[in-house]
């Protein structure tokens, strides 16, 4: 019964598999294998078959199929937004539905578009030696990408220490969180000094921090109704007490 329309059954089954994958698993690898063709190829393929398009070459047919899939995805965005179903499952349902509907239309159409196969002679002459060279090329490209990624993650032009002081929230008036993050190249020890109206009210000495490590401390300021006050926190690198390395402040009250 299917005759030369077996490909449509395959397209439909793949779309259905993608729907099941999206609905049942969080595995990115599995969903990638199932989902990429569903976004970029299957709906357009089925639709071109349903339209009865006959192209000049296999390349033309497949290019239009991919392009049409992109269009179906964009239309789907508006449709799913309209029905408030712009979610992973919504996408899977939409694209599977479109693929199934177009495949069905093509299957029942008397003159469904002719699918042009890729010419077999295209791969004639491809030998293991070529495969080995192409594999080496792929490895070199992958190595270039890996170096670029490592450099992107690893290289920092600026080395710095983050220092902050923020109020804990309206439910805890006067409570402040003070934090330090070491983004230098080496481990350091820090001193923190908190001043209220110019007088030291808390001191932490020689707090060791490795690169990338964060430390937070909490402090509650003594209450003083109605009066505007300013708390300041100074950060020193241990052993360099004459240089304020970082400075933050918090204005409190006085409204």
């Amino acid at each position: 019964m299917l005759g030369n329309k077996r490909d449509l059954l395959g397209v439909f089954l793949w779309a259905a598999m993608a729907l099941v994958a999206v609905a049942s698993t969080n595995s990115v690898a599995l969903r990638l294998v199932a989902g990429v063709p569903l976004v970029f190829f299957l709906p357009g393929y089925a639709l071109l078959r349903a339209l009865g398009l006959t192209a000049r070459s296999a390349l033309e047919w497949h290019v239009l199929a991919i392009g049409m899939s992109v269009v179906i995805v964009i239309i789907g965005g508006f449709v799913l937004n309209g029905v408030e179903f712009l979610s992973p499952l919504g996408w899977a349902v939409w694209l599977t539905f479109m693929t199934a509907a177009a495949s069905g239309a093509a299957a029942f159409r008397s003159a469904a578009g002719r699918r042009l196969a890729w010419p077999r002679q295209a791969v004639a002459g491809l030998t293991a030696r070529h495969g080995a060279t192409l594999a080496v090329a792929a490895l070199v490209a992958a190595a270039a990408f890996t170096i670029a990624v490592r450099d992107e993650y690893g290289y920092r032009q600026f080395h710095y220490t983050e220092f902050w002081m923020v109020p804990d929230g309206p439910e805890r008036p006067g409570a402040l969180t003070i934090g330090v993050k070491n983004a230098e190249t080496s481990a350091s020890a820090f001193d923190i000094e908190v001043l209220l109206d110019g007088r030291a009210i808390a001191v932490w000495r020689s707090l060791p921090l490795d690169p990338g490590e964060t430390l937070t401390e909490e402090i509650t300021l003594p209450p003083a109704s109605g009066r505007a006050r300013k708390a300041e926190a100074w950060l020193f690198k241990s052993g360099e007490r004459d240089l304020v390395y970082r400075k933050v402040s918090a204005a409190i009250g006085g409204d």
Partner: protein, 670 residues
Amino acid sequence: MIPELKKQHGLHTVIVAPRRLPARCLHTLFRAGAEFVLRVIGPVTRIETIDPPSPPINWDLIAVLCLSASIALMLITIGHYGGRRSESWAPLLFWGGVMALFLPMATRISWPTVSRGERILLLLILALSIFAIKLLYAPTAFAHYDEFLHWVTASDILESHRLFLENSLLPVSPLYPGLEILTTALANLTGLSVFPASVAVLAVLRGLCICALFLLYERVCGSPRIAAIACLVYMGNSNFVFFDAQFAYQSLAIVLFILALLAEAVSGDDRHARWSSLWALVLPFLAALAVTHHVSAYFAALFLVLLAALDFLRPNTARERARVAFVAASAVALPIMWSWLIGNPSADYLGPVFERGMSEVVHFIGGGSGTREFFVAADGSRTPIWLQAIGITAVAIIALGLATGFLRSIAMSSSKYRQNVRAALFDILVCQWRNSRFVLLTLVTLGFPLSIALRLTTSGWEIGNRMGPFVFLGVGLVTAVSIVCFSQQTWWRAQVVGVALTVVFLGGVVTGWGVPAERSPYKVSADALSVEPMGVEAALWSRTWLGEGNRFATDRINRLLAATYGRQDVVTSLYDRIVTTNVFFARTLSAGELGAVKAGNVDYLLVDLRLSEAAPFVGHYFEQGESEAVGAEPPEAAALLKFNDLDRVSRVFDNGWIVIFDVRSLRDAR
């Protein structure tokens, strides 16, 4: 000679003869010159001789070319590695790698005797390798200015499961959400985050673009060789390597544009297809384009209206005329309808740019000043002289290609293949062309000088730059016609063609992306070169410790980071109509600056002290045109830190360079 002349012309005095001799010589010289010129710009080479019988795919060469491309990518990576560290050898490796990537491939693709399949395969590999140049620049996260604007829209869609949320960085972006829909669809289905999903989308689009372009050219001219060379020339447009490969709406739009033209050509050539199939093929691409990018949709409308006009002028059937009229009407109606539906936001956005650009061009043509200095960035840094030479040579090669290919292309599109340019031109003048698409793409090249003129002006630069990809559709074809006529016979000419195509490609990179194409240390307000981990960390800190959605005012680079990594609600002149430049630049806070804080409902000010160290690479720190108000000098550090002295302002964050001030009390003060 003289007596013979006299005899021929029946002259009887020797006085006339000396006058006639130079006249004859001049005539001969003129004829020789005219013949030479005609030989250069014509006659037409027949399609059959352009594509001689070719051998099957040469896998030996393909394998070697893939290997050379991968080595070139390695050179580019090492160039970036050295560029970040200011190594002197870095530019040599980077630009050498770009050249090593393109030259061997281009030489092989443009070679006279290569099979169609091999040309397509190599074009695809080359296009993806060129995309890898952009990917290697920033392989783990978005880095380019426009990418951040669209990342906000995509993140909003992913998080809220709704379209059309507001985006203060680029208010028009959520209203043209084609690219974001496609990317978030893939992210939703696969579980990928926005960046890897966008890389996958852009890679597919890049492959689709070059294949569709090849097929379009092949449909138009009938020659795979011309089509392949036209694609190579098209890669030399200044937007191909970077601008149309970044995560921004035009990257999808240019592909939909080419697909719409291809679908139109396919539907036009299929005489037996039903009407329903014809519109079902073309209309979806035009509709998708209309909701993806305003400028591209308007260019598509212009192209298709011109195509319809050309098809109406030539002898044609009523059915065919109805078809092209329907396609043109759809191309015009769809973007207008969409623009009307979403409240016509692009008029405010594009109108002033277009107006300023055109007035500067008119001023420039009239001999006025105010032109832009080529190869000099706004901070005064100059492009190296050898890169300038490549950029200028590339334009000269294209100009030569257009000069020697224009009439040939016109002649090739006549109703009969003409060996005689005059006869072919006559055919065109009496509207006897066989293929309106060929005529259209040839006429489109007239936009090339205009795009160059626009690039010479300050405001028109953007229009000239945006015209590039569309004008190059014609430039590619006409230059390719010129090239195949030049390099038909000898192998050395084919080698020269490879070199010329490489120069055109490199010229496109130089004029489009320029020196920032190579990685370098941090620069002030230099888009991708200003995006680095410290700024990103500060934005992430704001999200963690201050929460999302606070109103942040800051410079144009930290604004991007705060909106994306920090998920803050940033204050912009484009969306809020509030300029906060003076809040930062002024030495003391006056009523005007406080008014901006109140009007912008600002919660936090993020100050980047690096701004005080250098002039902005792109010409402004906060908003375009600010130098007229605040002067050309970098802001003083003391001015940036003036909030330290205000009792009611908290300094909540400090990393040595970046300081965040809590100004809610200033905002709420009566």
